[in-house]
């Protein structure tokens, strides 16, 4: 689904990674690990095609992909329902019921129609994560998806990842929390980072 060849990145005079080659295949969960500043976010953005300059190597992607980054892409003045409908509208057609169901899945039942800026930090991110329940993209690139999410939310998301890969999808994610997925997890360690 995605092949990265010989990726090297230098940022601010430090070599974050060199000669990084790997492939993402169906049914894989890849956890990108590393201390703060190791280059996880930079790597994910390169894989997603958002960074196109300043690194060496090649990335080849096949098929559609879903990327969720540090920013939640949730507009404060739209309701969760409108936000989600807009997010998925570029990709495919969904009925109103499907959208409502996805919002319920992330625990926003009853919050569908308030303006998003009244939501708490975690609820805000959940609006964005609801896309995962609707996505038909096989490849997911997720940068710290568990940020601000409470314990039960993290568990739900992990079982969603397991279900997704079992259906032939693949997930590349970064996280500082331990994964507890009912599926084999490959680890990609970027070490280094801020701490010696």
């Amino acid at each position: 689904m995605l092949v990265a060849e010989d990726l090297s990145l230098e940022r601010g005079g430090r070599q974050l990674f060199t000669g990084l080659s790997f492939a993402v295949r169906p049914q894989q969960v890849i956890l990108v690990e590393g201390a703060n500043g190791a280059g996880k976010t930079s790597l994910i953005r390169i894989l997603a095609g958002l960074s196109r300059y300043g690194f060496e190597g090649r990335v080849a992607r096949h098929g559609p992909m879903l990327y969720l980054g540090h920013h939640s892409a949730v507009k404060a003045l739209l309701t969760p329902r409108e936000n989600l409908a807009w997010h998925v509208s570029g990709e495919s057609q969904y009925t109103d019921d499907e959208i409502e169901a996805a919002l319920s899945r992330v625990g926003l039942h009853g919050y569908e129609d308030v303006l998003s800026h009244t939501l708490s930090a975690g609820q805000h991110r959940r609006v964005n994560l609801a896309r995962l329940y609707l996505s038909r993209s096989p490849l997911w690139l997720l940068d710290e998806p568990f940020t601000a999410i409470d314990v039960s939310g993290v568990a739900e998301l992990q079982s969603l990842f397991a279900a997704h890969v079992k259906q032939g999808g693949a997930v590349v994610l970064t996280s500082h929390q331990a994964l507890n997925i009912d599926h084999q997890v490959s680890r990609l360690d970027l070490s280094a980072g801020v701490l010696p």
Binding site: L50, R52, W86, S92
Partner: protein
């Protein structure tokens, strides 16, 4: 996977932008009020003598419309950049050219079009002769569309800068100038009794050119901004 039709997607984008604008009625009303207040500044600064004001009215109205457009252009992509929506737009399988057009169109609807609609009131306040008002309306209608398109380029190029701020004015003011010249010339011509149509035709030509080219530049600018 069947991606939805591009036309549908753009219509949705347009609607989203308009909904966002409607949720901030202040934002819609503001260019108008800004227009009104800056128009009021001129008599205060220049002196209230009615005849000189009337002489300068076409120029003043056009300059203020341009400033009003300039100030709002900055925000076209700003909030979408800040909250990550723009990244998502770039990753979506829809042609960026048309999405950009939808953004610009929404911007024009809530600034340029409204400005053109209310401009006769301010024209009266500055004693613009009645013969100039129709020309003013149409020149603003066409001209502000060009301004919005060009402003989009500036907005796209500066949105990723850590506080580009007013840099946009530096980038796009020179591009605005031809519009200002022909726009105010159209009104002046109408006031003095000669036909305004040739000037309007030139504005129309600028508009077609801008529709064809500006979104390409804007799209390129957005890709660069998101990357940086």
């Amino acid at each position: 996977m069947n991606t939805p039709g591009t036309a549908l997607f753009c219509a949705r984008l347009l609607r989203r932008q308009l909904v966002l604008a409607a949720r901030r009625p202040v934002d819609i009303g503001n260019p108008l009020l800004f227009f009104a207040m800056v128009v009021a500044l001129f008599p205060l600064g220049l002196g209230p003598a009615p005849d000189t004001l009337a002489d300068f009215a076409p120029g003043i109205l056009w300059i203020v419309a341009l400033l009003s457009n300039l100030l709002t252009s900055d925000g076209v992509f700003r909030s979408d950049f800040d909250d990550g929506s723009l990244e998502q737009l770039l990753l979506s399988p829809q042609p960026l050219y048309l999405s950009v057009l939808a953004y610009v169109c929404a911007h024009w609807l809530v600034t340029g079009l409204l400005l053109a609609l209310v401009s006769p009131v301010f024209a009266l306040m500055l004693n613009l002769p009645a013969t100039g008002i129709v020309a003013l309306f149409f020149s603003l209608l066409l001209g502000t569309a060009v301004l919005s398109l060009v402003g989009g380029i500036g907005a796209a190029l500066t949105v990723g800068l850590r506080r580009g701020g007013m840099l946009i004015s530096l980038l796009i003011l020179p591009l605005y100038m031809p519009v200002l010249i022909f726009g105010s010339a159209a009104v002046k011509a109408a006031v003095s009794g000669s036909p305004a149509a040739p000037y309007l035709a030139i504005l129309g030509a600028m508009l077609s050119l801008a529709v064809a080219l500006a979104p390409i530049a804007t799209a390129a600018g957005l890709r660069i901004s998101v990357d940086a």
